[in-house]
């Protein structure tokens, strides 16, 4: 039985579970499963055991410092870790050992977490899966012939398989919510500026978000509690109070106003039968819990996708321009293709995309004026075979997640059942800026009203 963070925290506080035993159980699963999953690029076993022993000693002496004390986690390998190799899954940074922790790593360490390892990503959090990098791509624990989505692929796979209980993902167009959906876990892209980006390799500055991934929305709330807050090292960091992100959980969703963007998944880009069933069942579940369901109409999904993609292509090309000019051949083929696209963008294209962004954000703001939460698809289908992902995936299909990077609004993906081949399907819930407490409470209510958190991938045993 793999506990959630919340369950483990309760047991640790009651001294019914030892952080050392919990860490050993995770490490046992790493040794048993990760040869097939490839969720971890750098295993930090000795450090993990030392941190777990230190946590245990401190807890025995004076109790846990908080709910993350002694909890095993993974950090995506674009997150700087002091003294620990941080590769961004790229030949270019294969020997990179940062001198300082990224802000998110620092905050989770201060909360007493135990680092199991650095997790697999797509190269520089960009296109994947790639088979021409020094490390293999992560595989989906529900069926290892299938893709995890990315780029926080190792964090998603590792949590689903119980290699660690929570982890850090990053999300520029859906890189937290995609793996959360395909791996059947929960993943939160917080409001832009809520979690510091300092010390994390950029993908596209104005779209990049750092956020928690875990088995449940409640666990994401526990992690967000440690991660949120102003950081002067991040120029986009917001100065906002940090509320109790679990405070609204358990109060039910009676009267919650949920808007459903039917045209995204029924007209603009039709989803699979399994995903459609997951969304319809989720709407029925919320209705049964007393929520008020309304219809939302926005610009076509393709407009949001075009806007986000152009900004992403351009900002990425700017960030990686020096290496693209000097070491283009050292990038994997998928990232190289995306960097080539940067040559096509004119300055005017970029500014037009950023003007469109303002309009789209205003549209979402108006649509949500009388709503608490928006519900939409997260992925178009169940996980594809890992060798069937299109090479030019940037153009393959519109993204259901990028609209909320464009808008900067918080969005969480949670498991909404199982579709073709027993693979997970998901819904995406979107909140208003800095309203993560209400958003996560809505997600938590859904998880607790459905049986999907009771099932783990068969390979976990």
């Amino acid at each position: 039985m793999i506990p959630t963070i919340a369950e483990a925290a309760r047991q640790i506080a009651a001294k019914a579970l030892s952080p050392v035993e919990l860490t050993r159980a995770c490490l046992d699963r790493v040794h048993r499963l990760d040869g097939e999953l490839h969720a971890i690029v750098l295993l930090t076993e000795e450090r993990a055991l030392a941190e777990a022993r230190a946590a245990e000693a401190a807890i025995m002496k004076s109790g846990p410092s908080g709910p993350l004390h002694g909890i095993p986690i993974g950090l995506k390998d674009i997150v700087d870790t002091k003294g620990l190799r941080t590769t961004s899954q790229s030949k270019i940074l294969a020997d990179n050992v940062p001198a300082a922790d990224a802000a998110c790593a620092e905050r989770l360490a201060a909360a007493g977490t135990v680092l199991i390892g650095k997790t697999t990503t797509h190269e520089f959090a960009d296109g994947g899966p790639s088979f021409d990098l020094p490390w293999p791509p992560a595989r989906n624990p529900w069926n290892t012939a299938h893709f995890t989505a990315g780029s926080s692929s190792g964090t998603g796979a590792g949590i689903a398989a119980g290699l660690f209980l929570g982890g850090i993902g990053t999300d520029t167009g859906g890189s937290i919510r995609g793996p959360a959906a395909l791996c059947g876990i929960a993943g939160l892209k917080p409001t832009y500026g809520l979690v510091s980006r300092a010390g994390v390799a950029p993908a596209a500055y104005s779209l990049d978000h750092i956020g928690p991934m875990a088995w449940t929305a409640e666990d994401c709330a526990l992690m967000l509690q440690a991660l949120a807050g102003h950081d002067p090292r991040d120029p986009a960091s917001a100065r906002r109070p940090v509320p109790d992100y679990r405070a609204r959980m358990g109060r039910g969703v009676k009267g919650l106003r949920i808007g459903v963007i039917h045209h995204f998944h029924e007209v603009d880009y039709r989803v699979s039968d399994g995903v459609r069933r997951g969304i319809d069942d989720a709407i029925a579940t919320y209705r049964g819990l007393g929520a008020e369901i309304r219809e939302v109409n926005l610009s076509p999904l393709q407009d949001w996708w075009a806007c986000g993609s152009l900004i992403s292509i351009t900002e990425r090309a700017a960030a990686y321009e020096e290496w693209a000019r000097e070491r283009l051949g050292d990038f994997g083929e998928r990232v190289r293709r995306r960097l080539h696209l940067g040559a096509l963008v004119s300055g005017v294209d970029y500014v037009q995309a950023v003007r469109r962004r303002r309009e789209l954000r205003a549209e979402l703001q108006a649509a949500m004026r009388d709503l608490d939460v928006v519900l939409t698809a997260s992925q178009n289908a169940e996980a594809p075979k890992i060798d069937a992902v299109p090479e030019w995936d940037s153009f393959a299909a519109p993204s259901f997640t990028i609209p909320f990077n464009v808008a900067g609004y918080p969005a969480v993906t949670v498991c909404a059942g199982f579709g073709a081949g027993g693979l997970p399907v998901a819904i995406q819930l979107v909140g208003k800026p800095f309203q993560e407490a209400g958003l996560l409470a809505a997600a938590d209510a859904f998880e607790k009203a459905t049986p999907y958190r009771d099932r783990r991938p068969a390979l976990v045993g």
């Binding site: 075009a306 152009l310 693209a324 293709r337 040559a343 003007r355 153009f395």
Partner: protein, 65 residues
């Protein structure tokens, strides 16, 4: 915006970006250009000269006297 790109124009853009591509890579990029052009067309609309971009420049509290 044209939906296709000539070899000469592509060479110019690549040279301006400082990217050196093989002929096969150029052909691949040329083949996906229409999809890029469609996106660039989608973000354009008649919005007038006063429509501001999303990134507005402002001062943080610590900048102020």
């Amino acid at each position: 915006m044209p939906s296709e790109i000539s070899d000469e124009s592509l060479d110019f853009l690549l040279a301006r970006a400082g990217l050196v591509l093989s002929e096969a890579q150029k052909a691949e990029l040329k083949a996906v250009y229409p999809r890029y052009a469609e996106m660039a067309a989608r973000v354009r609309k008649r919005r007038g000269i006063m429509a501001e971009p999303a990134h507005a420049f402002g001062f943080a509290e610590e900048d102020l006297p």
